[in-house]
């Protein structure tokens, strides 16, 4: 497949406005302004563009549900707060070429008839956020942003908000609180942000990768986009592969590509002599999959059917000398550290899980620790306030299922079985 989203991206020398326009940039604006906003939403719906931030909610449907009669002002938030471990696709979009993001926002905001858009950039991506701000100024000077853009009668203001820097700020409603200058705790989901979001106004939040697809869909049509995918998927996808592979990296491939192809063809497979223990398909908050799942298409529904989540589509690979307990503990520690501290199960439950896992990893686990972990996970996931804790316990729950014998050996032998393997290997 020919690269679509990454075609003109170059983190070492991102295109400025003239070069971007010379390569066909901002052409979608004319196409968009020729259409009624509803027609544009229809095209995105027909393209079956699903949210790339992790949840996979159909983008066109999200936009339609906001409603054309939503009171003004309306806001569009572009979520570029990529903080998921193993995920670095949005970073490439940001550093590779800011104008593609701006173009996507203008077109999407036009579809939503939103007059103000805020790009929420991860704190660690501040340099990228600053060049994005400069690119916005460039576009403003060129009349691509502002009032009556291109004589269309459409007004738009775009701002960059650089995050204070916490994982939870990526959560839709916590992000709204953060932009408002409040503590980034998630808000109740009723009323929905599309009704009462940023500053109490109708607000639509989309992941940046979702949005950058929109101009291409508009220029090439919904059918073209649907045909980009394979194995029943629609569109192109930025995949990341990291962990125990020879060539970790970012690959733009058809959605529906198998993990086998991603890991073994594009990421160069595992180191010589190493076997695949398992992988996490969509960022740290998704369930482990096993070698038997290598041929499942990397797409929302097939991965869900296999018992995990497609998430961000960013694979972390574990080989046969990696202790799955240690790997899971690492993830749980991350989530315990990033809990916003709002609700009890997440705030106090995750550190409890980390404490039990630490004890087992140190060879001091008790026989009933595994059932205790399962009991706690069964409460923490469903009973917490937002989607953070359900995602956080997912790798642990699946790890306990997939690699139970390794956990048990930690407890029965009093040490990590992988220590011996690694010592022998060395």
């Amino acid at each position: 497949m020919e690269a679509v989203l990454t075609r003109h991206l170059d983190p070492t020398a991102p295109l400025g406005l003239p070069a971007y326009q010379a390569n066909g940039g901002y052409r979608s604006l004319t196409a968009a302004f020729d259409l009624k906003p509803e027609a544009l939403i229809k095209i995105v719906e027909d393209a079956n563009l699903r949210g790339r931030g992790g949840a996979g909610f159909p983008c066109g449907l999200k936009w339609r549900l906001r409603g054309t009669d939503a009171p003004r002002p309306r806001y569009l938030i572009c979520n570029l707060d990529e903080s998921e471990p193993g995920t670095f696709k949005d970073r490439h979009l940001l550093y590779g070429g800011p104008h593609q993001i701006i173009e996507a926002i203008i077109v999407s905001a036009y579809a939503l008839q939103a007059e103000r858009s805020i790009i929420f950039v991860r704190g660690e991506y501040a340099k990228g956020g600053n060049s994005l701000s400069r690119a916005i100024k460039e576009a403003e000077t060129a009349g691509l942003i502002g009032s009556n853009i291109g004589g269309s009668g459409f007004d738009l203001q775009i701002e960059v908000h650089i995050s204070g820097g916490r994982y939870i700020c990526g959560e839709e409603t916590a992000q709204i609180n953060a932009i408002e200058g409040r503590r980034p705790n998630p808000r109740p989901k009723i009323p929905r942000p599309s009704v009462k979001g940023l500053w109490g106004q109708p607000t639509t939040s989309n992941n940046v990768e979702t949005l950058v697809n929109v101009p291409h869909i508009l220029l090439n049509g919904a059918d073209w986009f649907r045909n980009l995918g394979v194995n029943g998927g629609c569109g192109s996808k930025l995949f990341c592969v990291s962990g125990k592979v020879q060539h970790p990296g970012l690959f733009e491939l058809p959605i529906g590509t198998t993990a086998r192809e991603l890991i073994f063809e594009h990421a160069g497979g595992l180191a010589k002599g190493r076997d695949l223990l398992g992988f996490i398909p969509g960022g740290a908050s998704t369930a482990f999959l096993l070698p038997k799942h290598l041929d499942v298409p990397m797409d929302f529904d097939p991965i869900a059917k296999a018992g995990s989540r497609f998430g961000t589509g960013c694979i972390i690979v574990f080989d046969d000398v990696t202790c799955p307990l240690q790997a899971t503990l690492n993830l749980i520690r991350f989530f315990a550290r990033e809990s916003c501290g709002f609700c009890t199960p997440c705030r106090d439950g995750l550190p409890y899980l980390a404490q039990i896992l630490t004890t087992i990893a140190a060879g001091q686990g008790q026989a009933n620790d595994l059932s205790l972990l399962e009991e706690l996970c069964a409460m923490i996931g469903p009973q917490s306030f937002c989607a953070f804790a359900p995602g956080a316990v997912m790798p642990l729950v699946s790890s306990l299922q997939c690699f139970r014998e390794h956990y048990e050996r930690h407890i029965t032998t009093g040490h990590c079985p992988f220590d011996t393997v690694n010592k022998k290997g060395a």
Binding site: R166, I168, R183, P188, A336, R337, E338, S339, C340, G341, F342, C343, T344, P345, R347, D348, G349, L350, P351, Y352, Q355, T358, T359, L372, L376, M379, P382, Q383, S384, F385
Partner: protein, 771 residues
């Protein structure tokens, strides 16, 4: 239309829009909870109120949901006792107890700890967590609230109260994960006048009462009784707690129309006056301590000797019974009685009460929370803190506040328009506002934009409130405010913050106007030989203190009844120490005209009768016949029934008040370039009783002369410069502080400074830089 939900078989009606937890609690069905609070609503943070909800579809499994976030809907089947819900609650308690220090035996909250109760009710009896506990460093939050962060269960109630409800900004949630820290950016006293509510709003022992802590007792050992706060005219319901003959603390007692869940810090911490070391506890005659019996005999002799040359001063902080009996005694002796010691305050208070009685009723605090615009005259935060809190709720709901003030007042930060008006110009300004509201559209000039804006805002409001602080207004201005309310139509509400806990009652007991002047002049001309003063300090008055001091020199006998040490008690020939408010029963009439009864929570070891009891004893010694206080009151107010302590209270019957009110504006209008208008600037802790509360007084602002930057520029005075102030009685030197909330030509001074200078609010004084 009401619907019905079923909780474990109990059928419970609900109002549409209510959540399951609110519905259940209203019906006395227990669902455990932490973060929910009726004043703060539901946030879904603690996850303790898990209940099981049956599905309409019998094939579907029931789901566990948080009762606080689940809207009640007709026919909903809910179970609190379902094992799945119990499991969730048990896990929540287990999680919350992971880092809790389990220090109940040494914790001040023990015995009234919501966490303790919930843990016993829902939690596991044994802990499974084997790891380390997190440890926090506590902060010094000032003299009123003690901080112990390790006990925190992160329910966010403190910040939701402090920031969201009371609109304070110096306490908040910091950090994240299981290290969320509730405190200030750095150590220092909490700035909110409502900070003490943290003690009650916190479900465990993170914020505890720092005063109670100094002389601690277990809460189950406290003697309590339904009482009424004596520190301002709002009449918040309180629950004093005492042990071993000493008052240890004060908490709120809910009144559905007044203070509901909260009280202000003056109400919570002002009670230290009754334990103050200077408090008179033994009767004194001619400077020597004496038994109560002998003091009665001495007083009886003097009263008999005086014949009808006797006067009596009641008080705006004395209860209805004490005032009424004193008045009855003086009537019997053909003497003169007044409940005030300052004619201007007398006129202002009677006028305000008169206007309230002639209006459709003054709004309660809960009604004030519902107004959509308010015109505020003066510093409500200092004179009626809980009215300030009610208006903060109105502001949160979108009400537009306009504040006309002489000096700084905290409510200006929430106002759309704030206008510093010199005391002498308040009346003229109100007339302009009145003209503007009543003028025909064509005749409305556009000269004064801010007046037009304020007038239009009030006229456009559906439920505007007009409220003034009586202590800093003249009677004519009080009338002008009432006229504004009339001009705005029937939806406008009128209220006044009165100058004392029983100022309304004191006004009702005043049968003729200018009684205070009559008494003062009678003393000065020698027509009064003996003066009985009950619960007031005329000799320490700001404007008239020196005149009273001089006049009292001419008295044969000054008999004083009080529970605090004042200038007047110091000058007393015969002193009867009386019971403080928590030590006696009585009745106060609040700013609404609501009579509320209070009962004694305890007795001290010393013999300390109430004012009414002392007067009743005097009556007996004088061989007079007088009915008791309830009979005197029902005779004075036909239809009056003494309100039962703990009840909601009852409105005083409408009572004819003297109509001749001296509306002459302030005495001295000549303007001299050296003359400035004095304005009383005060703070929420400033009140006669509360000024004897040492902890509260640690927060008192330092004495300065506050003037506006423009006036300073005009007079060539710089910030921090020393100025000499000269009043009719004395002089003093103070550093200047510039504040643009002070009106032009006005110098805002503390009460102490006014007393020393001998000027009242609005009086003129001289100010010159010290070279």
């Amino acid at each position: 239309m009401l619907g019905i939900i079923r909780i474990d078989g109990h059928e419970i009606p609900f109002e549409p829009g209510d959540n399951l937890l609110k519905v259940a609690l209203a019906a006395d069905v227990d669902i455990p909870y932490f973060c929910y609070h009726a004043a703060l609503g539901s946030v879904g943070a603690c996850r303790l109120c898990a209940v099981e909800i049956m599905s309409d579809d019998p094939d579907k499994v029931p789901r566990v949901a948080m009762a606080c976030l689940e809207p009640a809907s007709d026919g909903l089947e809910v179970s609190v006792s379902a094992p799945a819900a119990q499991q969730v609650r048990q896990r929540v308690i287990e999680f919350l107890m992971i880092n809790h220090p389990h220090d109940c035996p040494i914790c001040d909250e023990g015995g009234e700890c919501h966490l303790q109760e919930m843990t016993v009710a829902c939690g596991p009896a044994y802990r499974r967590y084997q790891g380390h506990k997190r440890t926090f460093t506590n902060q010094n939050l000032g003299p009123l609230v003690h901080h112990e962060m390790n006990r925190c269960i992160t329910c966010y109630r403190c910040t939701r109260f402090y920031q969201d409800y009371a609109l304070g900004d110096d306490l908040g949630a910091m950090r994240l994960r299981n290290e969320v820290y509730f405190g200030r950016f750095q150590d220092g006293p909490l700035e909110s006048p409502f900070a003490g509510n943290l003690v009650e709003i916190c479900p465990t022992g993170v914020f505890t009462d720092a005063i109670f802590r100094q002389h601690f007792t277990r809460v189950w050992d406290l003697k309590t009784a339904s009482s009424i706060c004596p520190h301002c005219s709002v009449g918040c319901n309180i629950l004093p707690g005492a042990r071993d003959g000493t008052l240890r603390r004060v908490r709120h007692r809910p009144h559905p129309e007044i203070n509901r869940w909260f009280i202000c810090d003056r109400g919570r911490y002002g009670h230290q006056y009754s334990e103050h070391t200077a408090r008179p506890l033994t009767p004194r005659v001619a400077g020597a301590t004496i038994t109560y019996r002998k003091a009665l005999i001495a007083a009886t002799e003097q009263i008999k000797a005086a014949g009808d040359r006797i006067g009596g001063l009641g008080s705006i902080r004395e209860d209805l019974e004490g005032n009424a009996l004193l008045r009855a005694l003086l009537n019997n002796l053909n003497g003169i009685f007044s409940a005030f010691n300052d004619p201007e305050l007398e006129a202002a208070t009677i006028t305000a009460v008169n206007r309230i009685q002639n209006s459709d009723g003054t709004p309660s605090l809960t009604e004030m929370e519902q107004v959509d615009a308010a015109l505020i005259l003066g510093d409500l935060t200092a004179h009626a803190p809980m009215i300030d809190l009610a208006l903060r709720q109105a502001y949160r709901r979108g009400a537009q506040l306009t504040v006309l003030h002489n000096g700084p007042t905290p409510l200006t930060q929430f106002a759309v328009t704030t206008l510093p008006v010199p005391p002498h110009e308040m009346g003229a300004y109100l007339s302009r506002l009145h003209e503007r509201i009543t003028a025909s559209p064509a005749s409305k000039d556009v000269q004064d934009e801010s007046t037009a804006e304020i007038a239009e805002r009030l006229a456009a409001a559906r439920r505007p409130l007009l409220i003034g602080v009586v202590e800093t207004l003249a009677a004519s201005e009080i009338i002008a405010l009432a006229q504004l309310a009339t001009a705005l139509g029937t939806d406008a509400r009128l209220a006044y913050a009165l100058p004392g806990a029983n100022a309304y009652g004191a006004a009702l007991l005043t049968l003729a106007s200018r009684k205070t002047t009559t008494i003062l002049e009678a003393i000065e001309t020698g027509q009064i030989q003996t003066l009985i003063v009950a619960g007031t300090d005329p000799l320490g008055d700001t404007r008239l203190g020196s005149r009273w001091r001089a006049a009292c020199q001419r008295l044969n006998t000054l008999i004083v009844l009080d529970c605090i040490a004042t200038t007047t008690t110091a000058a007393a020939d015969i002193l009867f120490p009386v019971a403080a408010w928590a030590e006696r029963g009585g009745t106060f009439v609040n700013y609404e005209g609501r009579a509320q009864g209070f009962a004694p929570a305890f007795k001290r070891l010393e013999l300390l009768p109430s004012t009414a009891e002392v007067i009743a004893d005097l009556v007996q010694c004088l061989d007079l016949y007088l009915p008791d206080a309830p009979a005197v009151l029902s005779e004075a107010f036909p239809g009056y029934q003494a309100p039962v302590p703990g009840s909601a209270g009852s409105l005083m019957p409408v009572h004819p008040l003297p109509t001749h009110i001296d509306t002459a504006t302030r005495s001295d209008h000549e303007h001299h370039h050296k003359h400035w208008q004095a304005a009383l600037t005060t703070w929420y802790g400033d009140e006669e009783l509360a000024s004897f509360a040492p902890a509260l007084m640690k927060l008192a602002p330092t004495a300065t002369a506050l003037i506006s930057p423009a006036a300073a520029l005009n007079a060539n005075i710089e910030e921090g410069a020393q100025v000499k102030l000269r009043g009719p009685v004395g002089t003093m030197t103070l550093p200047v502080q510039l504040d643009n909330r002070v009106a032009d030509g006005t110098v805002a001074l503390t009460r102490m400074a006014l007393v020393q200078l001998g000027v009242g609010h609005g009086d003129l004084l001289e100010l010159e830089p010290v070279s």
